[in-house]
Symmetry: none
Subunit: 340 residues, 3 copies
C-alpha cells in the first residue's frame, strides 16, 4: 500500500444549544466527548477506506485521559478538529483539539485535547479487523513517538482487560429516602438506555461517543446529588471499550462516588450491555471509567466539596485507590508545569 | 365572559422516524403519547388565554385510559387532531384522535383516542389557577355529558390522591445476574432523566407528554426483558399528575411487572421528583400509571406471554389487583361491543 | 388517469423549543425550512401514490426564493400548511404558508410563504422517475399560471446546473487568528454532518429539509462572526438539489460571505457529499445557495452591518454579483409594492 500524506484532517463545528448544557448554562462534558468521537470516527473511517478494497467502519477502542480545561457556554461555537497522528497495522490514532469560540466577542480558547484509538472492522464480517493504510510522517521521529504511544496504550489495555473480568455492576438501590446524605449510597445513580438507530450510524454498533455521553450524564447526576451545586466535568480517565454494543441492546449505566478531595470528586461509571432480545445469561460490563467533577459558584469559581462519608470496607478501599489516582495526576501535572 | 364557539381544533402531523420506533419498526407508544399531549397543551393554552386578562399556561392534570388500536410504522404519518369538548370553572377537557396514514399506499386508520384534562396556571404566580372561559356547545346534551365525565374523573383523582400517599418508589436493584428469569425482580428497571429546557417550553414545568414518553420507555424495557420478543404498548390506564415538575429536577422513572395474562403484561410505573439542587428530604412520587403491553411475532400476530413468577406476598397482592383490573377492562369491552 | 380534486392539503404544527432558536430566542430559519419541507414531502408523496401502481417517494428538486417576514420565538406555535398547486408530467409544485401563533396573546401572523418542487422516484428503482397524477384546477387560469412557473423554474434549474459544474468547494481555512476581522476569510465556516437514519425516512436519501437546516446553521455562524450581534435569516434564494444524498455519507457544509449592504449580508453556502465508506474520488457539490441575514438589536430593530473587506479579485467579483442580486430583489419588491 502507498503511504498517505498526513494531510487528513477534519473539523466539526456546532453552536452549543440549551439542551447541551446544565441549568447554569455550562455545556455537559458528554456533549463535547460525543463531538470529539464523531470527528474521530469520520476521519478514521475515511482513512481506512482510502486504499481498501474491503469496506470497513472504524470502531472506537480506547480514549486516553482527557482534561476539560474550561467550561463552554450556550451560544458558543465548539470547533472540534481531528487529525490522524499514527497508524499501526490494525489501529489508527486520532488526536483532537477542541476550541470554544465566543462568536459575539470574537474570542477563542482551547478547552480540550484528546487522543482516540480506532480499529477498522469489515462491514461484511463484523468480527474481521482489516488492515490500515499507513500514513506518511513529516518527520521521522513522529513515527517513533507514535509507536511508543501505541505500545503504552496496548499494555494498559491488556492490564485493564484482566482487571475488568473481576468488575461487577454495583447494585444501585433507587430508594434514597432512607439513606444518609454524603454517603456513597445516597448519591449513586443508574439509568437505562434503549439503543436507537441514531446511536449506530456507520455500522450496527453504538458509536463510542454515545456511550461516553451517557456515562458523563450519570456521573454528573451523582456529583450534583452529592454537592447540590453547579458541577462540571474536569477530566475523564482513559476509557477502554471492550465489547461492541449492538442495536436493540439495553445499556445500564451506573455511577457511584469513589473519592472526594477538597475541590474535586471522582465518580466510577459502569456500562453494562443487556442484549434484551436474546436469551443470554445476564449482562456484560462493556466499559468502565473514572470521571472527575468540580463544583462551581455563580462566578465559575471552584467551591469546596463535602467530604464523602465512608460506610463499608469496600468503599474505604475504593476511596484509597481514588486518592492514589488523584495524587498521581497531581504529581504528573506538576512535572509537566515544571518542564514548560 | 362570552362563551366561545366549539370551533377550536388543532392538528399536529409528523412523519415517524427510526428513532421513534423499536428495532422491529413499531413506533413507541410514548412517541404517540407525547404528540397527543403537545396537541392538547396547545389547544387548551390557546383557549384559556382567549378571553383572559391574566396570561396562563395549561398544565396536564390527568389522561384518561388510552388504547393503542394498531401499531404505527416508520415512514407513516401520524395525524393528531385535538378538540376541546368540555370546560369546568378551572379545567379543560380535550379529546384527541390519532390517525396513521400510509402515504405510499394511501390508507388511513384510527390508532388512538384519548381524553386529557388541563388546568390553567397563571404565568405570574405559579400556584394560582385561573378561570377557564366557557365553550359553546352544539347540542345541550354535550354539556351535561361533559359534566358527568368531569365529576367521574374528579372522584377518581381524589381516590387516587389518597392512595398515592401510601405509594413508595420500589427499590430497583440493578444487578440482575443473581435473579431468576420471569420474576418481578428480574425485569424491573429504572432510569434517571435530567430535566432539560426543551422539556419545559410553555412554562417552567415539564410538559406532561415528556413524562409519559419516559414512562412508556421504562415500561417497554420491563416488558422486553420479560418476553425477549417484539413488544408494543396496548393501553395505558388513567394517569394523574399530582405534582408539577420543575426545571433542574432529576426524574427517576421505575417500572415493575405486576400481572401477566395469556396474551398481555401489566407494568406499574412510578415517577419520582428529586429537586437535586435543593436540600430537600428525598423524593416525591409525582406520577404513577399502569401500562399494558402485548408481545408480537414477525407477522404482528400476538404471542403468548410467559407467566410472571411470584416470589413475595406483596407481589401476590399486586398480581391479584392487576388481574381484577384486567377482568374489569375485559367486561367493559364486552359490554361496549354488545351495545354497538 | 382521473384528475384529483385540489383538496389535498396538510398542516404540520409544533411548539418552538429552546433548541430551535438562537440565544436571543429567535427561531432559526433552518428550523422553519425543515418543517416546510416535511409538509411538502408528505403531501407530494401522498399525491404521487394516489393513483399509481408503482410505489414512489417524492424527492425535493428545488425550493423557490423564500422570505422570512418576521422572526418566531420560543413558545410560539408554528403552523405549516401545504397545498399542491401544479403538476407537470414528472413534477409537483407545493405551496406552503407558515403562521406563527402566540397562544398566550392569541395572535397569529404570517411568517413565510414558500414554493417547493418535488420529483417522484420509484421505490424499486432509484433512478426511475414515475408519472405524476394530474390535479383538478378550480379555475382554468390556475393551470396556465402553474405552467408558466414550471417553465421559468426549469430554465433556471438548467442554467444553474451548467454553472454548478464549475463550482468548487471553497477551501475553508479554519484558523482565524491570523486573519483580519470583516474579511471573507475571517468569518468563513464549515461543518460536517454524518447522515443518520432519521435524516432519511421515506427513502434511502437525505430529506431536503435536513440539508437546508444544516445550510442555515452554517450561514448563521458566518453572519454572527461577521456582526457579533443577534442575527436572523431574512431570505433564502432559490435552491436546486442536483444530487441525491445517500445514507452513510458525510456532508461538508461550508459558508462564506459574498456581499454586505447597509442592513443585510449575503452568505453563499455549499454542500459537498463525501461517501466515506466508498472508494470514490473526492467529493461532489450537491447543493449551493445564497442566504441573506440581518442583524437585530435587543428590540428586534435592524442594526447596520459592518462593510465586508475585500481582499482578492475573486471576492470582488462575487461581491459585485451579490450586489446585483440585491438590487434585483429590491427592484422586484418595489414593483410588487406598487402593484398592490
Amino acid at each position: 500500500m502507498e503511504p498517505q500524506p498526513l494531510s487528513c484532517s477534519i473539523q466539526v463545528s456546532r453552536i452549543m444549544r440549551p439542551d447541551d448544557a446544565n441549568i447554569a448554562g455550562n455545556v455537559h462534558g458528554g456533549t463535547i466527548l460525543k463531538m470529539i468521537e464523531e470527528a474521530g470516527v469520520i476521519i478514521s473511517t475515511r482513512h481506512c477506506n482510502s486504499q481498501q478494497l474491503e469496506s470497513c467502519a472504524a470502531v472506537l477502542a480506547r480514549v486516553e485521559r482527557t482534561d476539560f480545561l474550561s467550561p463552554m457556554s450556550i451560544g458558543e461555537v465548539a470547533h472540534v478538529s481531528a487529525e490522524i497522528t499514527y497508524t499501526s497495522k490494525h489501529s489508527v490514532e486520532v488526536q483532537v483539539n477542541v476550541l470554544a469560540e465566543d462568536i459575539i466577542k470574537g474570542k477563542k480558547r482551547l478547552t480540550n485535547r484528546a487522543t482516540l484509538w480506532y480499529v477498522p472492522v469489515s462491514l461484511k464480517s463484523v468480527d474481521k479487523v482489516v488492515e490500515v493504510p499507513p500514513i506518511k510522517y513529516l518527520r521521522t521521529e513522529q513515527e517513533e513517538e507514535g509507536r511508543k504511544r501505541y505500545d503504552a496504550q496496548k499494555l494498559e489495555r491488556m492490564e485493564n482487560k484482566q482487571k475488568n473480568g473481576d468488575w461487577m455492576l454495583p447494585a444501585i438501590d433507587t430508594d434514597r429516602k432512607s439513606k444518609e446524605p454524603y454517603t456513597v449510597r445516597y448519591s449513586q445513580s443508574s439509568l437505562i438506555h434503549l439503543v436507537s438507530p441514531s446511536d449506530c450510524v456507520l455500522h450496527g454498533f453504538v458509536q463510542g461517543g454515545v456511550t461516553m455521553k451517557l456515562m458523563d450524564e450519570v456521573a454528573g447526576i451523582v456529583a450534583a446529588r452529592h454537592c447540590k451545586t453547579n458541577i462540571v466535568t474536569a477530566s475523564v480517565d482513559a476509557i477502554n471499550f471492550h465489547h461492541k454494543i449492538q442495536k436493540g441492546c439495553v445499556l445500564t449505566v451506573s455511577g457511584r462516588m469513589t473519592f472526594t478531595s477538597n475541590k474535586s470528586m471522582e465518580i466510577e461509571v459502569f456500562v453494562d450491555i443487556d442484549p434484551v432480545l436474546e436469551n443470554s445469561k445476564g449482562k456484560t460490563v462493556a466499559v468502565t471509567a473514572f470521571f472527575t467533577y468540580v463544583s462551581l459558584d455563580k462566578h465559575a469559581k471552584p467551591l469546596s466539596v463535602p467530604m464523602l462519608k465512608i460506610e463499608t470496607e469496600d468503599e474505604k478501599k475504593r476511596f484509597e485507590e481514588g486518592e492514589s489516582r488523584y495524587q498521581q495526576t497531581k504529581a504528573k501535572r506538576l512535572a509537566q508545569a515544571q518542564q514548560q
